[in-house]
């Protein structure tokens, strides 16, 4: 983040903590994409994801006093969103249980940039367990290191690494079964 933008973010945080709604709206605008994307990629439902993101920002508004810096704000939002996503999935069981038998077999050989592969991968990721799915999401959406993910999800770094390794192995295996060695 640039120095000017960091200063601006600090000002928004300070003003929001004092009850400035305009400053808080700026914070929402700045981070809504991150929060919504996390919720959407995890829950695969736009409506539920928007509701969850709204709840996260409402919770942030109530806890603005505890936010110390822009980095802390980002960390706080990621942490709250990831925990709420996992809770939501466990509560409503919205995670679609897509088995490999339900995934249609490709009828012909596809080129590497085929969107079918992306769609297939997307569906396969939803079959992973909640925590493993969140680890993959934070790694590839937010580009976080295993240590940062471990801090966010309150788990050991080695567990994060093993989640990542196992998830990628599962996905690779499934894709290989669907597309063959050449594709993956």
């Amino acid at each position: 983040m640039e120095k000017a933008s960091i200063e601006k973010a600090e000002e928004w945080i300070a003003r929001s903590a004092k009850g400035d709604h305009l400053a808080f709206a700026e914070i929402v605008r700045e981070h809504q994409s991150m929060v919504f994307s996390m919720a959407y990629h995890f829950l695969r439902d736009r409506g539920i994801a928007e509701e969850l993101a709204q709840e996260v920002f409402f919770h942030l508004h109530q806890n603005m006093d505890s936010i110390k810096s822009p980095a802390h704000l980002t960390f706080w939002l990621r942490k709250v969103t990831s925990h709420r996503c996992i809770d939501q999935t466990r509560r409503q069981k919205v995670r679609p249980q897509v088995s490999l038998d339900d995934v249609p077999e490709p009828s012909s050989f596809s080129p590497p940039a085929d969107p079918m592969l992306s769609r297939m991968l997307e569906r396969m990721v939803t079959t992973l367990p909640e925590k493993a799915r969140m680890v993959v999401l934070l790694r590839y959406q937010e580009d976080l290191e295993p240590a940062e993910i471990a801090e966010l999800l309150d788990m050991p770094v080695n567990t994060v690494k093993s989640h990542l390794r196992r998830s990628l192995a599962i996905l690779r295996d499934k894709l290989t079964r669907c597309f063959g060695e050449a594709q993956v």
């Binding site: 929402v28 809504q32 994307s37 709204q54 920002f57 409402f58 992306s118 991968l121 590839y140 993956v184």
Partner: protein, 198 residues
């Protein structure tokens, strides 16, 4: 980096929520902030039962009627309490003979008489600590006096009177016979002793 990494980065690209998302968030916050103060109830100080009763009675529209009702209720309660105590006190005396009959029954079990007095079979001994001895003696004397008074007050039947007189004559006759027999026996004993002296 493998192909699967690239694909995952591609599918996990940032997505934007609906354009009015920020506005909705701010509206929701404003709505909850306006609702919150109304829903928070003012702190209620705890009142004792007596305070609540007093305040209810002192409410202006109901004041005279409620006071009268309370006084009436209290009087009724007092009368009922007194009557109950009196009935309880009188009950053991009225049920005396029944209690005695039950005490001699072959079942030999301990029970309660109508008057509330505990019946104790002949073999059983009441523990000394249950009632103080002075009170028991006073109660017993009271019961005897009451039963004597009841016997005196009963009207005398003529047939029973005749039977009583006949029985009295028989007893007197038997006493006379016994007396004469005793006299004869004494005379004989005295005659024998005189003859022996000679």
């Amino acid at each position: 980096m493998s192909r699967i990494d690239d694909e995952l980065r591609l599918i996990y690209g940032r997505k934007e929520p609906s354009p009015d998302f920020t506005g909705r968030v701010m509206q929701q916050i404003a709505a909850r902030q306006t609702v919150a103060p109304q829903t928070v109830a003012p702190p209620v100080s705890k009142k004792s039962l007596w305070q609540t009763l007093r305040e209810t009675v002192e409410m202006p529209p109901f004041r005279p009627k409620l006071r009268l009702a309370a006084a009436g209720l209290a009087a009724c309660l007092l009368v009922a309490l007194f009557a109950g105590q009196y009935a309880r006190r009188e009950a053991p005396a009225a049920g005396g003979p029944e209690v005695a009959a039950q005490a001699g029954s072959p079942s030999g079990t301990t029970g309660k008489a109508d008057g509330g007095e505990e019946i104790i079979p002949a073999g059983n001994v009441r523990p000394a600590a249950t009632t103080p001895p002075r009170a028991t003696a006073r109660k017993h004397a009271h019961n005897i006096a009451r039963s004597n008074k009841r016997v005196r007050e009963e009207p005398i039947d003529e047939k029973a009177l005749a039977e009583g007189n006949a029985a009295k004559e028989k007893v007197m006759l038997a006493l006379q016979i016994a007396s004469s027999t005793l006299n004869e026996a004494q005379r004989i004993v005295q005659g024998d002793s005189r003859r022996g002296d000679r």
